[in-house]
């Protein structure tokens, strides 16, 4: 198994001091794979992604990316390390045009910006057609694609995705998640938080299950998908109270 590119070791973090949401979390993301984090509401899935992105203080533990300590990294320096973050909601600038959103994200690409932009428009033709429109006029699915395109504009090695299918129609959710899968073929790793568990489990390589801010189970997604206990408790294969 290839070495992990992102490692979180014993991470404890939260929104306010002395009230940790995450307790001693350990996680590894391997290259060109989708690593899925699932768990009930309040498990700390989004909190973990925010802690990795430097949006929340980490009180204990260590996060490394390609061996470099990025614990408590300044969020604006995240993209320069090769990590992009796609938040769950409000992940585009509505008042800017689609092109301006991408240009903002492309700043770091420098002279390669035009080529990168062409590649992005090839991947997302709908965005190319509407590039002069305000991003606020896009549909939910198109907004997610723009957010993913903005992440890709920074030429990341790892994308942190927080529930990209939230609020989307089943068709749009399928398209967004499939696109995440396709990105791994380009050498991009994905750390994915999803509520759309069954769909995400089919696409993921490795899965972590969190509950109450702690690691519960982890393993290859295919194994966990066929694990009866996991299926009953976390994938809703058996309804509570059913015989």
């Amino acid at each position: 198994m290839p070495d992990a590119i992102l490692n979180a070791q014993g991470v404890t973090a939260g929104y306010v001091p002395d009230l940790p949401i995450l307790k001693d979390i350990t996680l590894a993301v391997r290259p060109s794979q989708i690593t899925l984090i699932i768990g009930p509401n309040g498990a700390g899935k989004s909190t973990l992604i925010k802690a990795i992105a430097g949006l929340l203080p980490v009180s204990q533990g260590k996060i490394t990316f390609h061996g470099r300590d990025i614990t408590g990294i300044r969020t604006d320096q995240l993209t320069s390390t090769g990590i992009a973050y796609v938040p769950q909601t409000d992940n585009i600038f509505r008042s800017l045009t689609i092109r301006q959103n991408l240009d903002l994200a492309l700043r770091r690409a420098g002279h390669r910006g035009d080529e990168t932009l062409r590649n992005l428009f090839d991947q997302f033709p709908a965005l190319a057609r509407k590039q002069r429109d305000k991003a606020g006029t896009l549909s939910g699915g198109q907004r997610q694609f723009l957010a993913i395109a903005m992440a890709l504009a920074t030429e990341p090695k790892l994308i942190l995705m927080d529930e990209p299918s939230a609020g989307l129609s089943p068709k749009a959710a399928e398209e967004v998640l499939q696109h995440a899968r396709d990105l791994t073929a380009q050498g991009v790793s994905i750390l994915l938080v999803e509520q759309n568990v069954k769909q995400a489990m089919r696409l993921a390589d490795h899965c972590y299950i969190l509950a109450e801010g702690r690691n519960q189970i982890d393993g290859p997604a295919a194994d966990l998908r066929n694990n009866n206990v996991v299926g009953d408790i976390y994938l809703g294969n058996r309804r509570i109270g059913a015989a």
Binding site: S95, L96, N101, L104, R107
Partner: protein, 304 residues
């Protein structure tokens, strides 16, 4: 009535410049900065000092640019004052607002800005005295634009309007054509997401103070050219500038420009039907009217 409309447009030109900085600070730093209007006074008096200095150092700069009553040295003084006021705005943030921001609540920031306004106003009064000052003691004759209706306008006022519109156009180009402008707008809309996209929040805040202070300085000088310089000019301008910001929608630069012109025109047009003593109430009425119809102002949006 057309004369009032023209006067209103002229008033709107410097109110808009003042409101641009205020709207950015209010939106990005999330506090009502009541000391912003004092930056107009600071800029106006700084230009007065630079003007005298440049005229002494190079008397050739004291030549009038006919038909204007302005001199080359005043034009240079405006540029120097923009830089100085921008830096002073930054210094005030570092010494006062940043410390309160890190420790206090939004309300503490508002009270700090009230205190800062009083300090700045009184320091200016202490240094320059309470008597009005003028950039030029020459009598500037107004030109008759039209006999029927009778319309008068001074060449200096035309300069003020053109220069203000030119500055707004330059700012528009920066905001709509440069990645720095996109970053500024991105921070105004969603600071966390801007950081996620690699925008340095700290540097952007510095840029906001520099731009806001610089534009406030120009607005103060243009007010001084149109009227006169008095240490309490900030007190007189704070309400119209706040009204322009709120009417336009907090956070919207274009809203601040439109709001400035609306407040300027409404205040001057009110003189047609109201005694001059009632015109200070016009900005309040405008705020109420606009917020009843559009709670976030004309161009404002609900915060992310």
């Amino acid at each position: 009535m057309i004369q009032n409309l023209i006067d209103g447009i002229l008033t709107g030109s410097y109110l808009s410049l003042g409101a641009i900085g205020l709207t950015l600070v209010m939106h990005i730093l999330r506090f009502a900065n009541f000391s912003h209007a004092e930056l107009l006074s600071l800029g106006a008096y700084a230009a007065l000092v630079f003007d005298a200095l440049f005229s002494r150092l190079a008397p050739v700069f004291a030549t009038k640019l006919a038909p204007l009553s302005l001199t080359v040295s005043l034009i240079l003084a405006i540029i120097a004052s923009m830089v100085l006021t921008g830096l002073l705005a930054l210094l005030i943030d570092r010494l006062v607002f940043k410390r309160v921001r890190e420790k206090g609540e939004e309300l503490s920031m508002v009270f700090a800005s009230f205190g800062m306004a009083l300090i700045l106003r009184n320091v200016i009064g202490l240094i320059f005295g309470l008597s009005p000052e003028l950039y030029s003691r020459d009598i500037a004759f107004a030109m008759v634009i039209s006999q029927d209706p009778f319309i008068l306008i001074k060449p200096d006022q035309v300069f003020v309007l053109i220069a203000a519109l030119a500055l707004m156009f330059i700012l528009h180009l920066i905001l709509s054509r440069t990645t720095f402008g996109y970053a500024l707008r991105a921070v105004a809309e969603n600071p966390s997401l801007a950081q996620v996209n690699g925008v340095n929040l700290h540097r952007t805040i510095m840029a906001v103070w520099l731009i806001g202070g610089g534009l406030a300085a120009v607005a103060g000088v243009f007010y001084g050219i149109s009227h006169q310089l008095i240490p309490v000019m900030g007190r007189d301008l704070v309400l119209p500038i706040f009204a322009a910001t709120i009417v336009g929608g907090i956070g919207s630069v274009y809203g601040a420009v439109l709001g400035g012109f609306i407040v300027g025109i409404a205040g001057n047009m009110a003189l047609v039907v109201l005694p001059s003593g009632y015109t200070p109430s016009v900005p309040f009425l405008l705020i109420l009217l606009v917020l009843m119809i559009r709670p976030h102002g004309l161009f404002g949006e609900a915060r992310t």
